[in-house]
Amino acid sequence: MNRKRENEVQSEIPGIFTGLAATAKRDLLLAWKRPGDVLNPLFFFAMVCTLFPLAIGPSAEQLEFSGPGVLWVAALLATLLSLNSLFISDFEDGSLDQLLVSPQPLPILVLGKTLAHWLTSGLPLVFVSPILAVTYRMPLSVVGVMMLTLGLGTISLSLLGSIGAALTVGLHRGTALLSLLILPLAMPIMILGANAVSLAASNDIYSTGIWALGAYAIASLSLAPYATAAALRISNE
């Protein structure tokens, strides 16, 4: 009897992709209502890219050489900046608890949130980066490679970062701690991305980096949501 009723309840629950789409849509809507959250990391990205020529000097040769690295470091820092707010507002207004008690699998819901995060932080970075890359005298053929690496890399960064954000949610001193946790883990992504761009700039074979970034993105896509879900459950016990 009980089992039968359970089945009935089960059948009323919408499929997992509905949950995924709903969380993603909700977060995108929230981002739309508060555009500052999306724009601030982008301004930060642009400003960090401006700092480097001021610090190391405007010589064209030097800029051309350091461009890929600078853009990647700036993108990494900008992503970190936006990660802090991934769960914090949901934690404060209690909607995170709703996610946790939802009958939908938590990793899928988390994936929806991370997807929205990538769409509002990673993807804009990809589209802003060419403007800055050109000021670093990056040739157009290399700009394409850079956008590709940033696109793939920020997917992994969002997913990896969501683990850190879930672990530090509800902690005061969260921001500094989040950077401390995520930066060492994110280093390989930056190494692969920045070096692929450097290789492309010197007309070398750069595909290794792209493939590795793709592999990293797929691996984190399949593993990170579970870790994030576990971390969220631990943080909200």
């Binding site: 672990l167 701690l177 401390l180 060492p184 883990l185």
Partner: protein, 248 residues
């Protein structure tokens, strides 16, 4: 066998056993380290290429190896704690982290002291092993920072276990990415290790065993304090402290 294992996992039992075990690891460990240090510093002949500078290998290699072993212990016991909810294994993870960070730091320091006469620089950004080791140190720092910023012990245990597990997947990727990255900059300038002479190798092996034993003893001592702190409100701790022996 299993019964013995389960008993060991109970804090009071572990506390008693470890008190007996700890000196049995420490004393042979220290004797071996002293013997190998004497061998390595005075008896082993000079390296024909590196002169006396190679002798730092007797500290560098064991600490580098223990830095990784401590991380493995930390992550494995964290996973055991998550899966089987063993309280003791979280205490092991908590105790292993600072020791591991210490050995990582020691490996980096001795490495850079060694690098000075060999490569002419204190720090070589292009060396993959130095980079991996540095990132490992940062991982330890992150782990300890997370642990210390969560007040609730159970929560800190679980959260840091998740972090350690994510970290261990990443350590492999870090290693390969850094290797790939450095191969762009230069060929492997690090001297290729040829066959080491037995005269040099045997003290190194003794040193490795000695360091491991000492590490085991240090770990046990740290776990003991950790267990004592965690169980401070339980009856067995109170009874032990109030007992005539004072719980030594």
């Amino acid at each position: 066998m299993w019964k013995w294992f389960h008993q060991l996992a109970s804090p009071p039992h572990f506390y008693r056993i470890s008190a007996i075990l700890s000196p049995w690891l420490a004393i042979p460990g220290l004797i071996m380290i002293a013997y190998a240090a004497w061998q390595g510093l005075f008896v082993v002949p000079m390296d024909y290429q590196q002169g006396d500078a190679f002798r730092i290998i007797y500290v560098h290699v064991p600490s580098a190896y223990l830095s990784m072993m401590a991380y493995m212990i930390m992550a494995t016991s964290g996973a055991i704690g998550l899966i089987w909810r063993l309280k003791l294994s979280h205490a092991v993870a908590a105790a292993a982290a600072p020791i591991g960070a210490g050995f990582t730091f020691l490996a980096l320091c001795t490495g850079s002291i060694w690098g000075r006469p060999m490569w002419g620089t204190w720090w070589e950004w292009g060396d993959p092993r130095m980079m991996s080791e540095l990132i490992l140190l940062f991982l330890y720092f992150g782990y300890m920072a997370l642990r210390s910023s969560i007040d609730d012990t159970t929560k800190a245990d679980k959260a840091s276990a998740v972090l350690a597990l994510v970290g261990i997947v990443n350590v492999v990727i870090v290693h390969f990415s850094v290797e790939w990255w450095s191969s762009l900059h230069q060929g492997q300038t690090v001297f290729k290790k040829g066959t080491m002479d037995a005269d040099m190798r045997i003290p190194l092996l003794i040193m490795l065993v000695g360091f491991t034993l000492l590490f085991g003893s240090m770990l046990l001592r740290r776990i003991r304090t950790e267990v004592l702190y965690r169980e401070r409100r339980t009856r067995w701790v109170r009874e032990m402290i109030l007992s005539p022996e004072g719980g030594a």
